[in-house]
């Protein structure tokens, strides 16, 4: 519970930063998604149960983002599943998951799977999508590969702190 209370404001700050700064800068190809990078990297360092909850909350936040126009619950579904999967991979890798390269590769892979799953489910329920998958994905992945190593020390520190809170909480 306390861990969730620690996670929520950080997710809100990441989303606000995404909306007010990152998405407005005309990056080549497409803008990077700081929000998804933070969520997926954190999920990778967590245990699967909390990662799934994290993904669900983050997804719901993205669905309720005033700037998004899609169906509510769509991103919650996608991110709960992908965060759980990412965390399972992290558990298999144990301590080596904190290496920046491992983190970058996994986060970029998880981002690709999230976008694919989102596009696929959109197609399945014939939800309208404002941007095409092919226009969005290459740029988002490229920036993710470049930005994740820069953000990783911060995310690792936050996740360690959160685990400390969780342990104290029992």
């Amino acid at each position: 519970m306390r861990k969730t209370l620690f996670f929520l404001p950080i997710a809100l700050v990441a989303l606000a930063l995404q909306n007010a700064v990152v998405a407005r800068i005309p990056f080549p190809f497409a803008d990077p998604s700081i929000f998804l990078i933070v969520i997926l990297a954190w999920a990778f360092l967590e245990d699967p149960e909390f990662a799934a909850l994290q993904g669900f909350i983050a997804g719901l936040l993205l669905d309720l983002n005033p700037l998004s126009v899609g169906l509510i619950g769509h991103w919650a579904f996608v991110l709960a599943a992908v965060c759980y999967g990412t965390s399972e991979v992290g558990v298999q890798l144990r301590s080596s998951r904190r290496a920046p390269l491992t983190l970058t590769v996994t986060v970029t892979g998880a981002l690709l799977i999230s976008l694919m799953l989102f596009a696929l489910t959109s197609w399945l329920i014939s939800a309208e999508q404002g941007l095409s998958f092919s226009r969005t994905t290459p740029g988002v992945l490229l920036w993710s590969a470049l930005i994740t190593p820069l953000l990783s020390p911060l995310i690792i520190r936050m996740s360690r702190f959160a685990q400390g809170i969780g342990a104290r909480n029992g």
Binding site: L12, V13, L15, A16, L17, N19, A20, V21, V22, A23, R24, I25, P26, F27, A30, D31, S33, F35, L36, D47, P48, E49, A52, L53, G55, F56, G59, L60, L61, L62, L64, N65, P66, L67, S68, V69, G70, L71, I72, G73, H74, A76, F77, A80, A81, Y84, L111, L115, F118, A119, S122, I125, E128, Q129, G130, L131, S132, R135, T136, V140
Partner: protein
């Protein structure tokens, strides 16, 4: 074999997935007051976003100038040291001038079309990973903004308002794939529909396949009844290529919008009804075709030997 801990977390995941599917289904049925919830998130995010807004200009300037650093790093360093203070002032001045120019342009367009409008600043934008092309404006219901109002910039049509809270509103940009608007071709007056393609160009469909379309033809918004969602006469874009496939009932073409949708800073929302249709008057002056230089050469025929000469004389 799955440990009790693992099966517990799997059960938890399934519960979360089912919950989200239930929410999706409810939203599909229209039972979730989505705009109310999004309004709440907006209220929560607003203070964070207004804090981060201060970082937008420095970061944007830094990124756009980063490409110059490698080329002449020494010279730039030297100049930066000497002119640090001046450059900072200049950069602030540049931002202010750019915004002022955009504001002047959009107000000029609104005045020319006799649109009653509210100028607005773009304060946030939808992320590409969110699969939507939206922007957030700093005007809302208290400024008279409501859903389905036209958003314009100095160059022309930007999009339409899709939701408005008390102090902010969200607009859908015209290159979003779900965007559609009626248009009228300049001069000929032929009607058609443009829709976003998710790419930088728009797609134009004319219902009359016999009508003549050429690259370079321009179009304005046709306007909706009661001026919502679109006021008439707003410049939309220029045709870049025409689909020559003649076997279809409709005629299609690609259109480049007049507005650069990736660098919007100041726009305006048209809040009042339009009484007089400005027709084509808001379009920028048509580019004049460059005259092809012609060379006239005068040749004096040299006198030829007798037989032909005598024939010519006849």
């Amino acid at each position: 074999m799955a440990t009790p801990d693992k099966s517990r977390s799997r059960f938890f995941l399934i519960a979360l997935l089912v919950t989200s599917l239930i929410i999706v289904t409810l939203d599909l049925r229209g039972s979730v007051p989505g705009q109310t919830f999004r309004g709440i998130t907006n209220t929560v995010l607003a203070p964070f976003q207004s804090f981060f807004r201060f970082f937008y200009d420095p970061i944007n300037n830094f990124i756009s100038e980063a490409s110059n650093l490698g080329r002449s790093a020494d010279k730039i360093n030297e100049l930066e040291e000497r002119n640090a203070k001046l450059e900072e002032e200049l950069s602030r001045f540049k931002v202010a001038t750019r915004e002022l120019e955009q504001l002047k342009d959009v107000l000029d367009l609104a005045a020319a079309g006799r649109y009653k409008s509210v100028p607005a600043r773009v304060i946030a934008a939808g992320s590409a990973a969110g699969f939507s092309r939206t922007i957030e404006l700093d005007v809302g219901a208290r400024d008279g903004v409501a859903t389905d109002m036209t958003v314009i910039s100095g160059a022309g049509l930007v999009g339409r308002v899709i939701s408005a809270s008390e102090s902010t509103s969200i607009a859908l940009l015209l290159d979003d794939e779900t965007f559609k608007a009626g248009i009228r071709m300049e001069a000929s007056g032929i009607l058609g529909v443009i829709s976003g393609t998710g790419n930088s160009q728009l797609s134009l469909t004319l219902f009359d396949s016999s009508s003549e379309l050429n690259a370079g033809d321009r179009m304005v918004a046709r306007g909706s009844s009661n001026s919502r969602p679109f006021v008439p006469g707003v410049p939309v874009g220029t045709i870049t290529s025409v689909d020559q496939n003649s076997g279809t009932l409709t005629k299609t073409a690609l259109v480049k919008p007049f507005v650069n949708l990736n660098s919007l800073e100041v726009v305006a929302v048209v809040t009042g009804k339009v009484r007089v249709n400005p027709r084509d008057s808001l379009l920028p002056p048509a580019p004049k075709p460059t005259p092809t230089p012609t060379v006239t050469v005068y040749i004096t025929p040299t006198p030829e030997p007798s037989p032909t000469k005598s024939k010519k004389a006849n």
